[in-house]
């Protein structure tokens, strides 16, 4: 299969859907002339014109709210929020308007709105440009939350979002944009929501990973293999809906589990995953559910401090070894 980057995969999904469906359009800060500050929408303005690739004012409330309004009258907007950190500028629109429109209207409102947003620490971007808002809206019924970890998933999950009828928060990790991998060319290639992906089978330990930590979990698994620890790596792919059956089945096989994400540990996405397992899979557990995530401090500017705060391969390896005290 031809290989393209995560960034190109996202662009391809947008372009294909915009060609296919006139109701899809893209709007956000600097998505047009600039091509997106991360370059994801480069040259889309040229292909689709100013009416379908809209540079907006720096107005997150209006961007999300206008996306909602356009969706309510039949469009399928993609709105880009440049950094996940800025989602909170539009907090009310996301939580009280977008998420609840369908339910409050008795199921009549359809909000096929995709909010594309970058997440994660790109390196020394400090506390307001490095956050992983993975769990910020998980408590809010009505939203779906998608965390692609590979180019293929980025494309396939985005297509599912764009063809669906529900609002989706689509989290693109900045440090994954450059990742290259095989991506199907089939224009109808879609990855369904709510299906976790077992990327590596293993019998000793399950590593449930979110977003960029999938890559690190695979690296950790490769290291652990040398220590004769056979780790299974599961990519959740979507946090809402969460594929409980796959996660539970994996834990049932291995009896040990690490949940890894770049978000802060406290009330990160791992909290929900761990709590779900502690409720529904406790009988399979042979040890604690260990969470690996950013320490509970804002992201620091200094590379030394930042690396200390962020979770890495070594943290997963260390956590895995802790299940077998002889190893540590």
């Amino acid at each position: 299969m031809r290989e393209i980057s995560y960034s190109e995969a996202i662009r391809e999904a947008m372009c294909e859907e915009m060609r296919r469906d006139a109701s899809v359009f893209l709007m956000g800060e600097d998505v047009g002339v600039f091509g997106g500050v991360w370059g994801v929408s480069h040259d889309m303005l040229q292909e689709f014109g100013e009416e379908r690739v809209l540079d907006t004012p720096i107005s997150e409330i209006a961007i999300v709210g206008a996306g909602l309004g356009a969706a309510l009258v039949g469009m399928r907007p993609i709105v880009e929020i440049m950094f996940g950190d800025f989602l909170m500028c539009a907090g009310d629109q996301i939580v009280n308007q977008v998420a609840k429109a369908r339910f409050m209207s008795g199921g009549k409102a359809s909000v096929p709105l995709t909010i594309r947003v970058t997440s994660g620490a790109p390196g020394s971007a400090a506390a307001q440009h490095s956050q992983s808002p993975e769990s910020w809206f998980m408590n809010i019924p009505g939203l779906k939350i998608v965390v692609p970890a590979t180019p293929a998933d980025a494309k396939g999950l985005l297509k599912t979002a764009l063809r669906g009828e529900d609002p989706v928060i689509f989290l693109e990790h900045k440090m994954l944009y450059g990742e290259v991998g095989p991506v199907p060319e089939d224009p109808d290639f879609m990855v369904p929501f709510g299906e976790a992906n077992i990327l590596r089978s293993g019998k000793d330990l399950t590593i449930i990973a979110v977003g960029i930590m999938v890559k690190k979990a695979l690296e950790a698994a490769a290291q652990l293999e040398k220590e004769s620890i056979d780790a299974e790596v599961v990519d959740v792919r979507t946090l809402v809906p969460l594929d409980k059956p796959t996660l539970i089945a994996s834990v049932a096989r291995t009896g040990r589990v690490i949940v890894a994400h770049e978000a802060h540990v406290r009330s990160g996405p791992g909290a929900e995953i761990a709590a779900m397992l502690a409720e529904e899979a406790i009988e399979y557990l042979d040890g604690p559910i260990v969470r690996v995530g950013a320490k509970n401090v804002p992201l620091p500017y200094s590379p030394v401090l930042e690396q200390f705060v962020l979770p890495g391969v070594a943290d997963i390896v260390r956590a895995a070894r802790s299940f077998w005290p002889a190893h540590t």
Binding site: F25, E51, R52, T56, P57, S59, E60, I61, A62, V64, G65, A66, G67, L68, G69, A70, A71, L72, V73, G74, M75, P77, D92, Q93, N96, Q97, A101, R102, F103, M104, S105, G106, G107, K108, A109, S110, P141, G142, K144, G164, E165, D166, P192, F193, G194, V240, P241, L242, D243, K244
Partner: protein
């Protein structure tokens, strides 16, 4: 103004009378226990709702507020389904899930009342954006209060609309209070229409207690919008006769103010004009009033006997697609 046909002004009267009587009936039914939730009545403010919506077509859209009954009725909302919604019944507009604050009907172009001050304004802009992108000659009108003009959502949405010359009307019902705080203690100016200048579209002040004056101002704004000339801000000066919500002790009122405004009560004032200006017989007016009362009797009867939702209905309508139950 005397140019209006008799049937038209009688219909205007029917509409404002319907709004008034709907509110009084809802208040009464709340007292009697049919209606469980809060009511923010628009008694005294019927003319803005009716005058503005008269200038709209059915396929134009509105967004409304916590004080939305008048807007919804004026845009064609059926008192039966509204009363049933207030009574939390399955056949109410939102199947009992939304209540007064969240009534919506997409077939009528009612994109929703709103519990968040200023929360619906961006969606109106988004709808107008969709109309503009699709080259439809439809307009969006957003109702909001004086208090809402101090929200960031108003500012961001108005800027976007002014920038893109969208077919949207910002309709501010300035009733001199935001909850218990006078408008004069919420903003340093009392003519809020002036705020349109920040966004380069016209701001118009109109007697909000005169449905025809409101109608004319809105009609002009609608014409401008349909002609691609962009938004208009209309400020209807009006007054709320009852508490912010039913039960409000109203300690904040300036003595004498209520009485002054009651002397300009839109219902008897317009009724008198029917007689004096259009020589309509008392009898004919009575007939209209009776038919409204009849309609409201039916609405209350309908609501009273409408089915109460079953518990499990609470789980419906959160998402279009629940992925085999995984999203709950």
């Amino acid at each position: 103004m005397a140019n209006y046909k008799k049937f038209f002004v009688l219909d205007v009267y029917r509409r404002i009378y319907l709004v008034r009587e709907f509110e009084l009936r809802a208040i009464e039914e709340r007292r009697r226990g049919l209606i469980p939730g809060f009511i923010h009545s628009c008694v005294g403010e019927e003319a803005t709702a009716v005058g503005a919506c008269l200038a709209l077509h059915q396929d134009d859209v509105i967004t409304s507020t916590h004080r939305g009954h008048g807007h919804l009725l004026a845009k064609g909302g059926d008192p039966k389904y509204m009363m049933a919604e207030l009574a939390a019944r399955s056949s109410g507009y939102c199947k009992g899930r939304g209540g007064s604050l969240h009534i919506a009907d997409f077939d009528l172009g009612i994109l929703g009342a709103n519990g968040i001050v200023g929360g619906g304004i961006p969606a109106a802009v988004g709808a107008a954006l969709a109309f503009s992108l699709r080259k439809e000659k439809r307009v969006a009108l957003s109702f909001f209060g004086d208090g809402a003009t101090n929200q960031g959502s108003f500012h961001e949405a108005a800027n976007m609309a002014g920038l893109w010359k969208l077919p949207v009307i910002f309709f501010c019902e300035n009733n001199l209070y935001g909850e218990g705080t006078p408008q004069s203690k919420q903003a340093p100016l009392c003519d809020l229409a002036k705020r349109a200048e920040s966004f380069c579209f016209p701001g118009v002040i109109v007697d909000g207690n005169d449905p025809l004056a409101v109608y004319e101002a809105t009609r002009e704004a609608v014409e401008r919008a349909r002609a691609g000339e962009g938004p208009t801000f209309i400020e209807g000066k009006t007054y709320r006769f009852r508490g912010h919500y039913e039960g409000d002790p109203q300690v904040y009122r300036i003595p004498g103010e209520l009485e002054e405004w009651q002397a300009r009560d839109p219902i008897p004032t317009f009724r008198q004009r029917l007689i004096e200006q259009w020589s309509i017989a008392e009898d004919e007016i009575k007939q209209v009033e009776d038919s409204v009362q009849q309609q409201l009797n039916e609405a209350v009867a309908y609501a009273s006997s409408a089915p109460i939702p079953q518990e499990e209905e609470a789980l419906e309508g959160v998402y279009a697609d629940i992925h085999g139950g995984k999203v709950f």
